[in-house]
Homo-oligomer: 215 residues x 2
Amino acid sequence: MSPATSRPTAAAALAGVLRTQVLDGHLAPGTPLREEALATEHGLSRHTVRSALQQLAGERLAEAAPFRGVRVASLDDDAVRSLQDLRRAVESEAVRLLVARHGRAWPEAVTDVLAEHLASLERSAGGEGDRLAVLSDHAAFHHALVAAAGSARLTEVSAGLSAEVRLFTAHLRLHLEPAGLVAEHRAYLDDVRLRGPAAVHEHLAASQEALLTGR
Amino acid sequence: MSPATSRPTAAAALAGVLRTQVLDGHLAPGTPLREEALATEHGLSRHTVRSALQQLAGERLAEAAPFRGVRVASLDDDAVRSLQDLRRAVESEAVRLLVARHGRAWPEAVTDVLAEHLASLERSAGGEGDRLAVLSDHAAFHHALVAAAGSARLTEVSAGLSAEVRLFTAHLRLHLEPAGLVAEHRAYLDDVRLRGPAAVHEHLAASQEALLTGR
DNA sequence: CGACCCGGCATTGTGTAACAATCTGGCCGT
DNA sequence: ACGGCCAGATTGTTACACAATGCCGGGTCG
């Protein structure tokens, strides 16, 4: 999903740039995405803009209401809890599959990718305060963990959930502490291999606490 | 989602009728949904038809490929396995929540709805061979089980999954035995209260077997 | 003073017509 | 038989127009 532009169709390309804008926190939750404005701004017709917005809404990065337009998605407390329910379902099932398949000794191919994600997260956390990179790496780590289970549908849902988390965390009032985040996830990766789904439950419970209090 | 028509917008209404057509098996998987044809058939413009098709594709009841149009969704063996992974994730987490909250004695409000779904399933199975009603009731039962957990996102994903299962089962070569289906799900409801997620695993494993061999 | 109604403006939903971009299937020559 | 190529079919996109709905403010009435 990296190249936000240069997609086969103009609508998909626009969806790409809007997606990165949203995920980078350049648009606050609740911000209306006006068709006319986007059309003139990007030199497209309203129809293509509408198509792109419908895509975004489908990914839950925006909310569409009939005759009231599309806005950047925003989550209230209940939505966050419910989101965490789904994250728990997906991630714990992925981990369960991994443990069922490999026991505690996961293949190097798997642990290497995950370790690389952690390293990248640590670099971002260590560098000058690039909060966005930290959040992106954090989301990518969780997504990679699920992807390691090798189930296309689990992976796809996880991609969407990671994006939602990234969007939400980008607008937290109390920012997550990068150093703490790195430490937690290093421990998490070890823990999850040893204890499986139970570790997922604990991690996401702590995560939920942080998300709800820091908003 | 019952009233397929009479939605605020024409696009949503068309999406509704297409959805019921697809779910009732009136359109074989792989069938192309041509914009022009649908436009003239329903007296709409191509734009609104496109919007409706994009909705359907978002629900995974259809597949869209750039410049190649939208077709009724079809699942190969890998897609079925992957779909079952996700069903397992969602349904077992829902059951885990239910058991964590209520133990083995679920509230009457919950057991009543589920029992009513089973009763409806049994009626459909007992009646003259209305295969579609059986499949619809079957999907509705699983959806209701997840919905009982009270998590909006789990419920929503489950709705989509149930629809996909309904679509897939509608086109099975070897049809599911209605009587067996009823018995299995009666036992399942009891089992899931006693043993929780483990019962979900077993049920969906058996289900997967049936789906893969019966296609 | 507040609640309500009403009207105008902004915005979205839909239609028509046309053209460009891409895919598809069949014909052709080698 | 094989690949290339052309013509038709289909989708992607645009421009313009109008209808339908939501939003916001002023005015009126209690």
